[in-house]
Homo-oligomer: 226 residues x 2
DNA sequence: TCTTCCTAACCTAGCGATTGCTTGGTAGCG
DNA sequence: CGCTACCAAGCAATCGCTAGGTTAGGAAGA
């Protein structure tokens, strides 16, 4: 079973410098797509093998387990994302510009790696308590802190509206932006930067018309009727 | 003649008027919670049985299959939701007020039946092509039409900003609002109507401060500073 | 009131299929 | 000759589900 493991990982990693890396990455990409579309538990190792053109048992020459494949996919994705965001928040620009960049970077990521994003959304919840996947929650928290930091800074500078809870505002933006991976199609009619533009317009200025020509235009009258 | 089974379903349904209904509903609620938290495929009939205090095989006295349990949960939820929204959009109020009501109704639903909402979000994608679950996509589409209708009406009346794609706006709101079920806790510090207030403020007027010493100042004054 | 009988609700036991994974081999290339 | 990448075959566990039996309680008939 899983008794003692004398570092097989090191040997496998060093051995995968040749063409092995290419094949390995290829299989991993196939697995990522299957995991993302069907879900991790619903994807069998036989599915992955079929798609890769090999038998399911042969997968275990490249990977320790099905779970290890998931971990590798998620780790690559999340560390990449963290680095991307860290670069943005470190910029010497006003918070408003940095938040825009975070949003645009998110849509670009959704465009570039939709499978990894969908996979994260589908499985991160179930992976919350699993020790091998602690990095998921950990990096998520780091990213949240970056975003919330920008939002708070924006409120202090006067860029952003006060009276909004920063954490709640973060969740609002995060959920609206990242859930778009569920319907966004990289080769569809809507380009990712167009979606970003529309979302940023809505996020910046809101849904209500600001011409305020008609009767109940102010922010006071009709909204809280009841 | 015991060879032919004369409509066992009808008999079962009619017979479940007594305490049977209570037990049935109880098991269904247990299943909904398990499906929502672990996911449908990851939940075994033995899990449900354990939680209900019976053996897994005994579940099949109440339900035809595990899938049938899911279908019943989702159908009850979605038809209820459709009715709720239909009532709102039929109101004789300005689009702006109706949209607010749709949003508040959504948060109220999340508060009242978080398991069903989470379940829908987790499984609706995988159920897209399954014949027995066609009603899921169908009702989803009907609901989408209601929301988009209100948004378009709001743009025509002048309530809502033009230059926003209605479908895209709908998805933005929908994803931001409904994904909150992932982190909202019915007994947590944030009440659902408080979240609704914050989200509506953000949705109405946007994130940018409207005092705006600099450029664009849309609606009028102040008033909401902490 | 007593007896009979029916039925909803559950149990016992297990079947066939599918799951992730293992073991021992082999083809082919440098 | 050695090593990478695969195949062939199958094992133990788990899955949804089934068939037939048991029990308790209430309605019905005398």
């Amino acid at each position: 079973m899983s008794a003692i493991r004398p570092e097989p990982r090191t040997r496998r990693r060093t051995a995968s410098d040749g063409t092995g890396t290419a094949r390995r990455a290829e299989i991993l990409a196939i697995a990522a797509e299957l995991f993302a579309t069907r879900g991790f538990p619903q994807t069998t190792v036989r599915d992955i093998g079929d798609e890769a053109g090999i038998l399911s048992g042969s997968l275990y020459h490249h990977f320790d387990s099905k779970e290890a494949m998931l971990a590798e996919i998620l780790r690559d994705f999340m560390e990449n994302l963290r680095a991307r965001f860290a670069e943005v928040v470190a910029q010497d620009r006003p918070p408003r510009a940095r938040l825009d960049e975070l949003v645009r970077g998110s849509f670009a990521t959704i465009h570039q790696q939709p499978h990894a994003v969908a996979l994260y959304q589908k499985e991160s919840g179930a992976l919350a308590g699993v020790p091998e996947f602690r990095f998921v929650g950990q990096i998520s928290l780091e990213i949240e802190k970056m975003w919330v930091g920008v939002i708070v800074a924006g409120q202090q500078v006067g860029d952003f509206r006060t009276g909004l809870d920063p954490e709640l505002t973060y969740r609002f933006i995060r959920d609206a932006v990242w859930t778009s991976v569920q319907w966004y199609r990289p080769r569809g009619r809507l380009r990712h930067d167009v979606v970003a533009d529309q979302y940023l317009l809505l996020l910046h200025s809101g849904l209500l018309a600001d011409d305020a020509g008609s009767a109940d235009a102010g922010s006071t009258s009709s909204a809280n009727g009841r």
